[in-house]
C-alpha cells in the first residue's frame, strides 16, 4: 500500500494546499454536480412527463438550455483543476475573506481557481433555475386528464417541491457569489472590513463576512433539501410498490414535504450559531430547526408503517430504499444535537458534523439515487439491471457507509478540514479510527465502481424487457404503460386517462394486487 499511497500526510503525496483543493472540490462537485444534478436533474426529466402523462416537458428549449449551461458549468469547474494556482481551496462554502480576496498569498486557491468556481457556479445556478421553472410549469400545466394534484405519485410531488426550493433559493447564492466577485475584482467591500495583511491595513471598509454566510446559507440550507427531497419521493414510491401496499398517509406525506420546504427557508442560520451572530437570533433559529424534526419524524414513521404487514419484494431498489430510511434516521437524529445551538457550540465544525451530514444528505441521498436507478433501469434502457451485482453493491455499501461515518461521531472533538492533527496532543489516539475509516472508504469506492460496471454491462447485455411485460414491478403509475422503446411523445395515440390515486395496491379488488391509475373505479372501490 505504501508504494501507492505514500506513508501518511507527512512524506506522503498530498501537499496541504492540494489537500484543501481536494476537500473543496469534493464538496462542490458532490453537493451540486452529483447530488443536485443527479437527483432532481435526471429523475425530474425522466419521471415528470411519464408519471403525469405528458408528451414532453413544458419547454424543450429551456430543457436544452438548462442542460448545456450545466455542461459548461461542469467543464469550467473541472478546468480549474488544471490551472497553475490550482482550484479553489477555501472550502465548498467559499467563505470570505479567505476566498474573498484574489490574493494567492492568503490562499493559493483564491487566485483564478476561485474566479472559475464563481463563474461555474453562476452557470450552474442559471441551469438550475431554467430546469426548475420547467419542472414547475410541466407539473402544473401538463397533467393528463384526471390527474389532479392529489392523484400524483409522491415522486412528482417531491420533484415539484424541490423545484420550488431551487427557484427560490439559488438566486440568493447567485447574489452572494457575484458580490464576492465584485470584492475580488473591483475592490468593493461587501464582505470585507478591517483586514490586516502583512501588517498593512487594507482599504476594505464596512463589509461583513457574516453577510456572505447569511446569503450563502439562505440557499445552502434549502440545498440539502433540494438533495434529500427527491430521494424521499423516489423512496416513497419504491417502498410502496415493492411492499404491495399503499404508501401510508399519502396526504400527510405531501404535507410533510410542504412543511419541510417552508421551514427549510427559516433555518439557515443554524449553520452560523458560533459565527458571532447575535445570540438572540440564534435562539429563534433553534426553534425552527428543531421543529423540522416533526415532519421528518412523520415521514419516517409512515415509511415504516408502509412496510408493516406488506409482502416485501426485496429487489436491490427496495433494499436501497430501506437503507435510505435507516440512513435518514441515523443522520437525522444527530441533527437534533446540532440544531440545538447550545449543543452545537462544541460540535460545530468537527467530525460530528461531518458524520451527520454525510449520513443524512450524502449517503441517504445516494441510496435514494441508487434505489431510483435500480427501480427505473428497465424504463431507461429496456433491459433489467443485474440483481446479483446489485445485492453485492447494496450490502458492501451499507456496511462501508456505516463503518466510515458511524465511528466519526466519536471523533467529536476533532475539527474538520485538518490536514494533520497529530500536532495536537488533544487529538492523538484517533489514528486507529482514521485508518479503519480509510480502509472502508477504499472498499466502498470499489463497490461503487462495481455499480458503474453493472450499469454499463446491463445496459448492453442485461435481460431484455418485452412490451408484453412492460410493467415488471406491477406498478400503478403511468410510466409503465408506455412502450419499451423510447420515442418522442411517450404514448402512441391518445394520452392515458387517470381515474384513481397511484397507491391502490392489494385493495382487495381484481385478480392482481395492483390497480393501475388508468383503471376506472369499480363500484365499492374507495377513491383516495
Amino acid at each position: 500500500m505504501e508504494s501507492i499511497l505514500g506513508n501518511g500526510p507527512e512524506g506522503g503525496k498530498l501537499t496541504n494546499e492540494f489537500y484543501y483543493s481536494l476537500v473543496t472540490m469534493h464538496g462542490t462537485i458532490l453537493v451540486f454536480f452529483v447530488l443536485t444534478a443527479g437527483l432532481s436533474g435526471t429523475f425530474a426529466n425522466l419521471l415528470i412527463p411519464y408519471q403525469i402523462g405528458a408528451r414532453d416537458m413544458a419547454s424543450g428549449f429551456l430543457n436544452m438550455l438548462s442542460y448545456w449551461f450545466f455542461f459548461t458549468s461542469g467543464v469550467v469547474m473541472l478546468a480549474s483543476l488544471f490551472i497553475q494556482t490550482g482550484p479553489a481551496s477555501g472550502g465548498w462554502t467559499m467563505y470570505p475573506p479567505v476566498n474573498g480576496m484574489s490574493n494567492v498569498a492568503v490562499n493559493q486557491g483564491s487566485g483564478l481557481g476561485t474566479d472559475l468556481w464563481i463563474f461555474s457556479m453562476a452557470l450552474f445556478i442559471v441551469s438550475s433555475l431554467l430546469g426548475g421553472l420547467n419542472y414547475i410549469a410541466t407539473i402544473l400545466n401538463l397533467r393528463t386528464k384526471g390527474m389532479s394534484m392529489f392523484k400524483m405519485p409522491l415522486t412528482v410531488w417531491a420533484l415539484l417541491f424541490t423545484a420550488i426550493l431551487g427557484v427560490l433559493g439559488f438566486p440568493a447564492l447567485l447574489a452572494a457569489v457575484v458580490l464576492m466577485e465584485f470584492d475580488r475584482l473591483l475592490d468593493t467591500s461587501f464582505y470585507l472590513s478591517n483586514i490586516v495583511l502583512n501588517g498593512q491595513l487594507m482599504d476594505y471598509k464596512g463589509g461583513s463576512p457574516i453577510l456572505y454566510q447569511h446569503l450563502f446559507w439562505f440557499l445552502g440550507h434549502p440545498e440539502v433539501y433540494i438533495i434529500i427531497v427527491p430521494a424521499m419521493g423516489l423512496v416513497s414510491e419504491i417502498l410502496s410498490v415493492n411492499s404491495r401496499k399503499p404508501i401510508f398517509g399519502y396526504r400527510a406525506m405531501v404535507i410533510a414535504i410542504g412543511v419541510i420546504v417552508c421551514l427549510g427557508f427559516l433555518v439557515w442560520a443554524h449553520h452560523m450559531f458560533v459565527t458571532g451572530m447575535n445570540p438572540f437570533i440564534g435562539s429563534i433559529f433553534v426553534l425552527f430547526t428543531l421543529l423540522i424534526a416533526v415532519p421528518s419524524a412523520v415521514k419516517v414513521f409512515n415509511w415504516i408503517t408502509t412496510i408493516w404487514r406488506g409482502n416485501l419484494r426485496l429487489t436491490p431498489a427496495m433494499l436501497f430504499a430501506i437503507g435510505f430510511v435507516s440512513m435518514f434516521i441515523s443522520g437525522g437524529l444527530t441533527g437534533i444535537f446540532l440544531g440545538n445551538s447550545t449543543v452545537d457550540i462544541p460540535l460545530h465544525d468537527t467530525y460530528f458534523v461531518v458524520a451527520h451530514f454525510h449520513i443524512v444528505m450524502g449517503v441517504a441521498a445516494f441510496f435514494g439515487m441508487f434505489a431510483g436507478v435500480y427501480h427505473w433501469f428497465p424504463k431507461m434502457f429496456g433491459r433489467f439491471i443485474n440483481d446479483t451485482l446489485g445485492y453485492i453493491h447494496f450490502f458492501v455499501t451499507i456496511v462501508c457507509a456505516y463503518a466510515i461515518f458511524f465511528p466519526m461521531h466519536f471523533m467529536l472533538s476533532l475539527p474538520r478540514r485538518y490536514y494533520i492533527y497529530t500536532n495536537f496532543q488533544t487529538f492523538q489516539g484517533l489514528e486507529d479510527i482514521s485508518k479503519f475509516i480509510s480502509v472502508f472508504a477504499i472498499i466502498s469506492f470499489l463497490a461503487q465502481l462495481l455499480f458503474v460496471v453493472n450499469i454499463i454491462y446491463s445496459a448492453f447485455k442485461g435481460r431484455e424487457m418485452t412490451n408484453d411485460a412492460r410493467n415488471p414491478w406491477g406498478s400503478n403509475t403511468l410510466e409503465w404503460t408506455t412502450p419499451v422503446e423510447h420515442f418522442h411523445g411517450n404514448w402512441h395515440g391518445e394520452l392515458p386517462e387517470v381515474h384513481r390515486w397511484p397507491y391502490d395496491y392489494s385493495n382487495g379488488f381484481g385478480k392482481e394486487d395492483f390497480r393501475p391509475q388508468t383503471l376506472p373505479l369499480e363500484p365499492g372501490e374507495e377513491a383516495h
Binding site: N16, V98, F248, V274, G276, G310, N311, V343, P346, S413
Partner: protein, 383 residues
C-alpha cells in the same frame, strides 16, 4: 509495479463478479424464476437481520473502544451544562434510533415476500399520525426550552458578566494566535485601526497614547485562573478563524471587522485533569518521546476550527488553568509590549525577512512550520 499488480487484481475481481452475476441470472432464467424475488428474498432478508445485529454490536464495540480516547470531563462551567443537554439528547435520540431500526429491519425480515402472503391494505389512520406528530413535537419543545435557557446563560448580556473576570484578547491570523493580556491594571489598551497606526510591528493597531496599553503584554500561551471567570475578546486580522477550546467545550468564530466574545469560568486546572487521566488506560501508555506515561504531560490546547488557509491545522497553542498564585508569578515574568515598542523600527527589519522566508515553503514539514509560527509570534511579542 505494485500499482500495476493492484490494478490487474481489481480488473480480475470485476470480471469474476460480472461472471457470477451473469451465471446467477442465466440459472434463474433456465429455472423460469426471472423476476421472482422469493428465494433471493429469503437470503437478503436474513442478511438484513445479520446486518442489524452486526450494526448494533459494532456501535457497542466502538463505544467501548473509543471511551478512553474521548476528551476528559469538561474543564469549564458552561461545558457541564452543554454536556448535560448533550446527554439528554443522546438518550432521547438513542431510544428512537434503536426502536425505529429494530422495526425497520425486523419488518423487512418477517414481511419478506412469501407464497400466500397478502399485503394488508392500510392507507391512513388519523389517530396514529396525530400521535406520532405530537410525541416528537413535545420532545422537541423540551429540548428547545432547555437549549435556549442554557444558550442565554452561556451568552449573557455583557453588563451581567462577573466583575472579577480576567479579560483577554485573542486575535487570529494566518497561522497563529495573538494573545494580549491587559497586564496589572486589568484594562486592555485602546486599539486604533487606521492606516497610520497599523504596521508590521503593531498589527493590532494598539494606540500607545492610551496609558492603559503600557502594561499590556503578548503571551505565547494562554493562562487562566481556576474558578475565576474569564472573558475572551475575539477578533481576526486577515480571514475567519475560530477560537476553539476542546476541553472547555467552547468555540467562537473570530471575524475580521466584527468583534465577538466568549466568557466562561474554568473549573478544572491542568493538575485536576491530570489526576483524572491517571486512571485512564489510554493515558497510562508510555509516550515514546518522553518515556513517561502520557498523562504526565497533559495540557489543554487551543485550536482553530474554521478553515483559514493552508496551515489551518497548525494553529495550536497551549492553555493552562492554574491557581491565582501561579498565574501571578507567570504574569510578572511577562514583558509589556510598550517597552519594546520604542525599538519597533529596528525590530521590524529583524523580524520581517524571517517571517517571509517561513511563508515560502510550508509543505516539507507542516507540523514543524506550525511550531515555527508559534515561535515567530513569541518573537513578535517580545521584540
Amino acid at each position: 509495479m505494485a500499482t500495476l499488480i493492484t490494478i490487474a487484481v481489481l480488473i480480475l475481481l470485476y470480471i469474476v463478479l460480472i461472471q457470477v452475476g451473469k451465471t446467477v441470472e442465466k440459472v434463474r432464467e433456465l429455472r423460469g424464476e426471472s423476476g421472482d424475488y422469493e428465494k433471493s428474498g429469503n437470503i437478503n432478508a436474513t442478511l438484513m437481520m445479520v446486518f442489524l445485529v452486526l450494526f448494533f454490536a459494532g456501535i457497542v464495540y466502538s463505544a467501548i473502544y473509543m471511551w478512553p480516547k474521548l476528551l476528559p470531563a469538561s474543564a469549564s462551567d458552561h461545558g457541564l451544562k452543554i454536556e448535560a443537554l448533550f446527554n439528554l439528547t443522546l438518550l432521547l435520540t438513542g431510544i428512537v434510533f434503536i426502536i425505529t431500526h429494530i422495526l425497520l429491519f425486523w419488518f423487512t425480515y418477517i414481511y419478506r415476500q412469501q407464497k400466500g402472503r397478502k399485503a394488508y391494505f392500510f392507507a391512513h389512520n388519523s389517530t396514529l399520525e396525530l400521535v406520532w406528530s405530537a410525541i416528537p413535537a413535545v420532545t422537541m419543545a423540551i429540548l428547545v426550552v432547555w437549549g435556549i435557557k442554557v444558550w442565554f446563560e452561556i451568552f449573557p448580556n455583557h453588563d451581567d458578566l462577573p466583575k472579577n473576570r480576567i479579560v483577554i484578547e485573542a486575535t487570529g491570523k494566518q497561522f497563529n494566535w495573538l494573545i494580549r493580556y491587559p497586564g496589572k491594571d486589568g484594562v486592555l489598551g485602546r486599539r486604533l485601526i487606521t492606516k497610520e497606526n497599523v504596521s508590521p510591528t503593531n498589527e493590532l493597531g494598539i494606540d500607545f497614547s492610551d496609558p492603559a496599553s503600557h502594561d499590556d503584554f503578548f503571551a505565547s500561551e494562554i493562562h487562566m485562573v481556576k474558578d475565576r471567570p474569564v472573558e475572551f475578546l475575539l477578533g481576526a486580522l486577515d480571514v475567519l478563524h475560530s477560537f476553539y477550546l476542546p476541553h472547555m467545550r467552547l468555540k467562537m468564530d473570530c471575524v475580521p471587522g466584527v468583534p465577538t466574545g466568549l466568557s466562561f469560568t474554568p473549573i478544572r486546572s491542568n493538575d485536576d485533569t491530570r489526576d483524572l487521566l491517571k486512571e485512564n488506560p489510554d493515558w497510562q501508555k508510555i509516550d515514546p518521546e518522553t518515556n513517561e506515561p502520557r498523562w504526565k504531560n497533559f495540557k489543554y490546547e487551543l485550536a482553530c476550527a474554521e478553515l483559514c488557509g493552508k496551515s489551518h491545522y497548525g494553529m495550536q497553542m497551549n492553555v493552562f488553568v492554574e491557581s491565582q498564585k501561579e498565574y501571578d508569578a507567570w504574569m510578572n515574568a511577562q514583558k509589556p509590549i510598550y517597552a519594546g515598542a520604542a525599538k519597533a523600527d529596528t525590530a521590524a527589519t529583524a523580524v520581517t525577512p524571517e517571517t517571509m522566508e517561513m511563508g515560502k515553503d510550508s509543505t516539507v514539514a507542516p507540523a514543524k512550520e506550525a511550531g515555527n509560527a508559534v515561535e515567530a509570534s513569541t518573537a513578535n511579542a517580545k521584540h
